[in-house]
């Protein structure tokens, strides 16, 4: 009680604008803090983008040079190229072409007035900073595109992704329909087992599965990356089932009275109402297939012509390391599509995550 009175009296005692100002200040401070945090969080993207468009020479020339992609400005005089540097004079810094290098004094030419007498400046030329000019090398992306053979990687990834989407939709819709609408004996236990597979470490089933696929000749093909998706997985079944449970049963029953069988009801009653969740699962799986690294790594080892984008980028950078600009260019090209899909359908993604995460 005492505290309550204190709260009330303090709001009365201080003028209303002070209270407002305090609220505004807290809000501004908090927002500023969040902005700093999110900037730090996303800074690596800036690093990657700026490095991807740097010239290789700039990267190898100096480790601590500009973080921006720059060129040294040159000036051509009588057929030869000279570096343009910043030369300090008493009346200010001038940008001059370094003509004759000397330890005690150097001679310069003014690019603005090359016919004038060369300028002599006392001091070591080594202390002079070069003049740099912003020079993004957009061509790096084209080089990376060709060297990694992106069209091939994208084609492989899309085939694996699209067939996987078809498989996961067919199977998960069917299984979710079973869980949402049919009186199956032991349904609760079966559903718990399904959810339990989420926390089963896949390593323990992977060795025999790999062995099996190896014996039937599927290792080194796309099949192990596609076929298992035709047998449903816990996350997507859960997501679709939750959606099906929200659909009213009246329409099912009306269709049943009209003589429609379970297949008919699924196709013409349930699915037409469920496009949001179907699109969500399709997007989830596309991003999953695009980002999946481990499965293609083990099943497509030594088959570069079949590898999807994730493994392709890694293999390329493994073989042709020490090209930081190309590494960053390939990294960005690899993340472009999933990030784009995410921004276009962010609500779908975040809702899906919340449903599978919180309700379970």
């Amino acid at each position: 009680m005492a505290i309550q009175t204190r709260v009330i009296s303090s709001t009365i005692a201080s003028p209303w604008y002070l209270h407002q100002l305090g609220k505004f200040g807290a809000s501004a401070l908090l927002t500023l803090f969040a902005l700093i945090l999110v900037s730090a969080f996303l800074t690596p993207f800036a690093y990657s983008a700026l490095t991807a468009i740097k010239d290789k020479e700039q990267i190898t020339a100096s480790a601590r040079g500009s973080i921006l992609p720059v060129d040294r400005v040159k000036f051509t005089y009588e057929g030869k190229e000279y570096d343009v540097v910043k030369v300090p004079f008493e009346d200010g810094v001038r940008e001059l072409a370094l003509f004759i290098k000397g330890r005690q004094e150097s001679t310069f030419i003014d690019p603005a007035d090359p016919t004038a007498e060369p300028i002599v400046w006392k001091g070591s030329w080594r202390t002079l900073e070069p003049v740099e000019r912003l020079a993004p090398r957009w061509g790096n992306f084209a080089i990376a595109w060709q060297q990694v053979n992106f069209p091939r990687l994208i084609f492989n990834t899309l085939v694996i992704a699209v067939l996987g989407v078809i498989g996961t939709l067919l199977s998960c819709i069917s299984v979710a329909y079973a869980f949402a609408r049919f009186p199956i004996p032991g349904k609760r236990i079966l559903f718990l087992i399904l959810i339990g597979t989420i926390i089963l470490p896949s390593q323990v089933t992977l060795v025999p599965t790999y062995t099996f696929f190896a014996r039937i000749g599927w290792v080194g093909t796309w099949l192990p990356l596609i076929v298992p998706h035709f047998f449903a997985n816990a996350y997507n079944v859960f997501l679709i089932r939750q959606y099906f449970l929200t659909l009213p049963r009246d329409l099912d029953e009306a269709a049943m009275i009209d003589g429609a069988g379970p297949f008919r009801i699924l196709l013409s009653v349930i699915i037409p109402q469920s496009w949001p969740v179907i699109v969500a699962v399709a997007l989830f799986h596309t991003v999953f297939a695009w980002n999946d690294y481990f499965m293609p790594l083990i099943y497509l080892l030594g088959k570069p012509e079949l590898q999807p984008i994730s493994v392709g980028i890694q293999v390329f950078n493994f073989q042709y390391g020490q090209q930081p600009h190309l590494i960053q260019a390939t990294a960005l090209m690899g993340l472009a599509l999933p990030v784009l899909i995410f921004f276009m359908a962010q609500r779908v993604f975040m809702r899906g995550v919340v449903i599978t995460g919180v309700e379970k």
Binding site: V38, F41, T51, Q328, F343, V354
Partner: protein, 300 residues
């Protein structure tokens, strides 16, 4: 046949993809790997297979890489597990604050790196963490601090891996935030009337109410710890460098089974991993009775 019976049969028909898949890709392989773990099966000489009894499991005790890889996993976990609770909760609390402006866009931006393929994120962070050219050490340099050799030092590699891991915070953060938003406002009002300040409300209302989600995230993190593979594999180009500091348990398992094709010993390692993950999860479930609060009265 009664209508109910017909409906049951239809139910099993629609369920069949999962039942077949569960048998073919979970139950059967589980049994097969247990059997394989008692043999010397090697895919490079697939025609001969001998029963070894417990020899593979005895080998676990003499294989130096088992101890090394478990130590690596443990050292990593020492930072990773606390972070996997504190970061999502802290970030969600920030984004749940009433005074914060631009929540929507911030939420999207904090989640977004979760969408980045692990290969891309490893290469981006590898550049960021480079001793000379990386922005982290250059930033530290501006402050007059000589940054460490993050990726080639057997101690600093663990903080480095955790820094890379921060980009994977998206899912845990988002479901924690959703849980926080689901806490009924009456509870906060009641706590305020009882004299609780902001910290008291967070400690005594928010944390208990979101404890199921913290628990869920913790279980996934612990299992993720045993499965940790892709980032150290790409970063060390499959070698586990520096030293064997990145030779995580799962990398050792991968090399045994899929590089050297020793499926027998690989299966024994896989069962060890399974057993450890199972015990850890079980311990979490047992402990959860003491600290996880279910408003509805039943667990998941």
């Amino acid at each position: 046949m009664s209508l109910k019976r017909i409906q049951q049969i239809w139910g099993f028909i629609f369920l069949s993809p999962w039942i077949i898949g569960f048998l073919a890709f979970t139950l059967f392989p589980l049994a097969a790997s247990l059997i394989l773990s008692f043999t010397d099966y090697n895919l490079n000489r697939a025609d001969e297979i001998h029963w070894l009894g417990f020899a593979n499991y005895m080998k676990i005790f003499t294989d130096p890489l088992v101890g090394i890889s478990l130590a690596a996993t443990f050292k990593f976990a020492l930072i990773a597990l606390p972070l996997s609770i504190i970061l999502p909760v802290g970030l969600a609390a920030l984004l749940n604050a009433k005074q914060l402006k631009g929540k929507r866009i911030l939420r999207t931006l904090f989640y977004m790196p979760y969408m980045v393929p692990v290969v891309s994120s490893v290469y981006i962070w590898q550049g960021m963490l480079n001793t000379e050219t990386g922005w982290i050490n250059r930033f530290l340099g501006l402050l007059g601090i000589a940054g460490p050799n993050w990726l080639n030092d057997i101690v600093w590699i663990y903080p480095a891996l955790n820094i890379i891991g921060i980009w994977g915070i998206g899912n845990a953060f988002l479901i924690t935030l959703a849980a926080m938003q689901g806490v009924p406002t009456e509870l906060y009002e009641a706590a305020t009337v009882d004299g609780a300040g902001p910290w008291g409300r967070f400690r005594n209302v928010t944390l208990p109410m979101i404890s199921p989600v913290i628990f869920y995230n913790l279980v996934l993190s612990v299992i993720g710890l045993f499965r940790y593979f892709e980032i150290p594999y790409i970063l060390s180009q499959g070698t586990g460098r520096p030293g064997n500091a990145q030779m995580f348990f799962n990398l050792h398992l991968y090399k045994t089974a899929f590089v050297f094709k020793e499926m027998g010993y690989g299966s024994a390692l896989a069962w060890l991993l399974f057993a450890m993950a199972f015990i850890a999860t079980l311990a979490l479930f047992v402990s959860s009775r003491r600290w996880v609060y279910y408003a509805s009265g039943d667990g998941f």
